[in-house]
């Protein structure tokens, strides 16, 4: 195995593209090293991207907040401006593991590990986040929900690296929230999760919304019907009932020791309702 720590993303992409065997990107390593140790993967090359300045910081740009691919959870949690604009995304990211894991784990790593139960991902999908990808063919931008295509699988091609993630600029009267169900208080994998982001128009009527569910399908799913159910409403009982039905209809979960199909499906609706209420309050709705 080789270890490389380039200082530009292009260099990193070139190293990955040229690798003869299996090559992996190392940011926080909280998933990668576990997979290496368990023998699931046997890398020929590890490309550590933490020395690349473009991956290291959170910056506020005209397009919104740009979060580098090697920014750890603790740094995300320490950004007051980010927390104010996207509290749901920050809370979701800070739910990943212990303080020790937070010291290393990254949003982009959580995304590219491609688990259907990844905590930050439903919040990022609800937020309408986009990733900046650098590869041998140059740069491209991709919606976050297009990155993961199945458990452990992404749409990235050989040599491509996600350099950063951008959360869009926040209109006034917007709010987001993320909730997950686990059978304990923390340190667990989501049985079901839901992320909601919304913006209010005049008189507290929802004018834009995005709803995403985690751990109820092979990938995190964006549920446009759930968003439609609450757009134009003030989150009254009828809209919430429609939201619940849309979320339940979008579920295609597995049956395992964490939860049955029926349980996961029902809880998805419950969490989406609760997350929508929190997001609505955060947006200033009453």
């Amino acid at each position: 195995m080789r270890y490389e720590s380039p200082t530009t993303t292009r260099e990193a992409a070139a190293l990955l593209a040229k690798a003869k065997g299996k090559a992996f990107v190392l940011a926080g390593g909280t998933d990668l090293l576990v997979r290496m140790k368990s023998g699931l993967i046997d890398p020929e090359l590890i490309v550590d991207i933490k020395r690349i300045p473009a991956t290291q910081s959170i910056t506020k740009t005209a397009a919104g907040f740009r979060i580098g691919a090697s920014v750890p959870g603790t740094q995300v949690g320490a950004s007051a401006a980010l927390k104010k604009a996207w509290p749901g995304v920050v809370e979701a990211t800070n739910l990943i593991g212990s303080d020790q894991v937070q010291g290393r784990c990254t949003m982009v790593g959580n995304l590219c590990n491609a688990s259907p139960a990844a905590d930050s991902v439903p919040a990022l999908v609800a937020a309408g986040a986009k990733v900046a990808i650098v590869g041998p063919q140059g740069r491209r931008t991709l919606a976050v929900e297009k990155v993961v295509v199945g458990p452990g699988k992404t749409s990235l091609t050989k040599g491509e690296i996600v350099e950063s993630i951008t959360l869009p600029k926040r209109p006034p009267k917007s709010g987001d929230a993320y909730l997950r169900l686990i059978p304990r208080t923390e340190m667990d994998i989501a049985v079901v999760s839901a992320g909601v982001s919304l913006t209010l128009g005049p008189k507290g009527v929802i004018k834009a919304a995005r709803v995403a569910l985690g751990a109820v399908a092979p990938t995190v799913v964006l549920v446009p019907d759930a968003a439609k159910a609450i757009i134009g409403s003030k989150l009254g009982p009828e809209a919430l009932a429609e939201l619940t039905a849309a979320c339940e209809a979008a579920c295609n979960p597995i049956d395992d020791k964490r939860g049955t199909v029926e349980y996961r499906t029902e809880v998805a609706g419950v969490l989406a309702r609760r997350a929508a209420k929190i997001a609505y309050e955060r947006a200033g709705g009453k």
Partner: protein, 171 residues
């Protein structure tokens, strides 16, 4: 397999080593540098027995590569005491009998130190959350939480005294 040469700082001392590219920081500390305080409990980042700080950030050293440490600052439980004087956390762990077999203790001490460095006056809930990544299978957690609470009081007392002393000097 070629080795990676690393120059880094461990507990304030400039340190150099050559390690395998896939070797963890935990293995480097224990097997190459003789620092056996950090323990391997699970090897998957779940138990916290291998906790150390890297550039001030609390991490599981079993999930960090030794090769990544070029130019970083690593602090382990071995750096906690000031020469022969134990850190208040170490004193209070002994006083409150917050350990039995001792395997988890170095990790708890390092994680508790990281907590007190950023929050010298934590509530019981904050202590419990901050130590949630450290597992103990002997004593249970109450004694550990009480020891950290007592150490926090002691640290605040020492900080206050140091502030007073430096204030006097300036006058």
């Amino acid at each position: 397999m070629s080795g990676v040469h690393v120059s880094t700082t461990v507990n304030g001392d400039a340190t150099e080593y050559v390690c395998h590219p896939g070797e963890t920081l935990l293995d480097v500390l224990r097997n190459r540098l003789g620092l056996t305080g950090a323990k391997e409990g699970c090897g998957t980042g779940d138990c916290g027995a291998c906790s150390v700080t890297v550039d001030g950030s609390l991490v599981c050293s079993c999930l960090v590569l030794g090769a990544e440490m070029e130019g970083r600052e690593v602090n382990t439980v071995e750096g906690l005491a000031d020469g022969g004087t134990l850190h208040p956390l170490q004193d209070k762990f002994i006083e409150h009998a917050a350990l039995q077999c001792g395997i988890c203790t170095p990790g708890f001490l390092v994680a508790a130190k990281a907590l007190l460095d950023r929050n010298p006056d934590p509530t019981e809930q904050e202590i419990r959350y901050a130590l949630a990544g450290n597992l103990c299978r002997c004593t249970g957690y109450d004694k550990i939480v009480h020891a950290v609470d007592a150490a926090a009081k002691e640290v605040r007392k020492q900080q206050k005294a140091a502030k007073k002393a430096s204030g006097k000097k300036r006058r």
